[in-house]
């Protein structure tokens, strides 16, 4: 079942800046989609448009086939984890997690049950009475996730949630996020600039460049069959070498002296042959 549909979604700022020309994306239920791209490519903007924190200038956003363009963030049944966690500093961990439910008018005993369930799942039970400032970075990150999870939203949105953690914790949290997402089966949209994160987490990746989706596909697809030079150069570390060449009848002409014969249709093959001929 399709869960989230972005149809020709675009964003133009009041000053005329065309941040996102047009993006089409269909997300299946339970899918983990990662938006990746260099900074300034519009990936956060796109996420915030889904969240309702930015208005959508053109196109349509549908969640469970319901048009969402004009809905307030709270009415979209989504939950977001922010880069700086955005925990309410004056509230205890419990209150932080309960606040959204309280605003929705859920009865107190039900809130308590939900929060303690989620806290147990994230290993936060001991910390429920603490204030955010008494927590470490990793614990804050968990609370931020807990706050998103208690609401049982249709869609999780993550905005570079791991970029404030140290390298070791980042890897650990990455695994944990993926496990939780599988367990809950919640559709997830995840923004990152870190390609390792993107490649390891995603069911499908969206590579964005200057507000355009360069390629949408599984990590292996993107790695093996990049659709554009941009994707080819962006994915992989160290990045792929790109060399200008002319396609002639004899083959691929790199220079006057060196022409590679055209033996395969496959682009991956060209790469392979080139590598072989340089090593000879």
């Amino acid at each position: 079942m399709t869960d989230v549909i972005l149809e020709k979604v675009g964003k133009t700022y009041p000053n005329g800046y065309h941040a996102i020309p047009s993006v089409d994306l269909t997300i299946e239920e339970g899918e983990f989609i990662v938006l990746v791209g260099p900074s300034g490519c519009g990936k956060s903007t796109l996420l915030r448009m889904v969240a309702g924190l930015e208005s959508i200038s053109t196109g349509e956003l549908r969640i469970r086939s319901e048009r969402m363009n004009e809905k307030e963030p709270a009415e979209r049944d989504i939950a977001m984890v922010f880069q700086n966690y955005a925990l309410y500093p004056h509230m205890s961990v419990y209150d932080n997690m309960a606040y959204g439910l309280k605003n929705r008018g859920m009865p107190k005993d039900q809130i308590a049950e939900k929060v303690s369930d989620v806290a147990a799942m994230l290993g936060l039970t001991e910390l429920l009475q603490r204030k955010p400032r008494q927590l470490s970075g990793g614990q804050r990150q968990r609370v931020a996730m807990g706050r998103a999870m208690v609401r049982d939203p249709k869609v999780f949105l993550f905005d570079e949630p791991l970029s404030n953690l140290d390298a070791k914790l980042r890897v650990q949290m990455r695994v944990e996020i993926r496990q939780l997402q599988r367990k809950l089966g919640t559709t997830t949209l995840y923004v990152t600039h870190d390609q390792v994160e993107a490649m390891t987490l995603a069911d499908r990746l969206v590579v964005l460049n200057k507000g355009k989706a360069e390629q949408i596909g599984t990590p292996m697809d993107l790695y093996n069959k990049p659709a554009t030079p941009f994707v080819a150069a962006f994915i992989g570390s160290p990045s792929m070498n790109l060399i200008d060449a002319n396609l002639t009848e004899q083959g691929i002409k790199l220079s006057e002296a060196l022409t590679l014969p055209l033996s395969h249709q496959h682009r991956g093959g060209i790469v392979w042959e080139f590598v072989q001929s340089t090593w000879k």
Binding site: P73, A86, Y88
Partner: protein, 282 residues
Amino acid sequence: MIENRPWLTFASHATLFTGIALVALPVWLALVASTHPASAFGVGHIPLWFGDAGAETWGTVLFEKAGNGVDTPVWFMMLNSLIMALGITFGKIAISLLSAYAIVFFRFPFRNLCFWVIFMTLMLPVEVRIVPTYEVVANLDLLNSYTGLTLPLIASATATFLFRQCFLSIPGELVEAARMDGAGPWRFFFDILLPLSRTNIAALFVILFIYGWNQYLWPLLITTDDAYYTLVMSIKRMLSVTDGDIAWNQIMATTLLAMLPPVAVVIGMQKLFVKGLVDSEK
């Protein structure tokens, strides 16, 4: 670095004690003067040690009448002062919180202009606009009333500016998180913004309470009825005796009593006050 230089310790302590003595001397003199009978001041020198009329003077001033032409007792004027000071303080805080909230978090046309117009009123304290303000208050029939005492002093550019700075330091993600959590403008204001600016409110409370308590010119101008005399302005009335001796003992007692509430507020809220001005834990 730990230093052990006895002379330095001695010198710094001596300086501090001299400072304390200088600052406290007038208060001490006032306290001593209030314990002598009124006749003690005619002879031309100031007593330095307590006399024996203290209990009588303080009792009269506090519960019967302040004296020197002011017939209301100090406790009653203290109550008036308190109503005025608290009215001004809470009014200022409430109004400036709301205006800062509007300026920082809402997008409306001429937002910046509004801010600068509010800011410009800094140049128009009561003393400058006293004649038109009096006119307005008189036309509204608010002379000799608590509303008349407080209302014209309530608008505050300083507090608005302070709260604006405080709100600007609240990260945008927090506002967005609250929106995602379904908090509307009022919920956000009461659940998030107020608790976060608690220490700033406390710091402003101290400053504004003292400001309100010390109001002198405005109450002097618009109250002619004993029932609305405030403590600070009564001291001025007590001094303007046309014939006969000025009862310095009663004036000193009244003055000291007038000092007590602000001192109590400062001491009581010292911790929060310092925190509100220094701390920015957000």
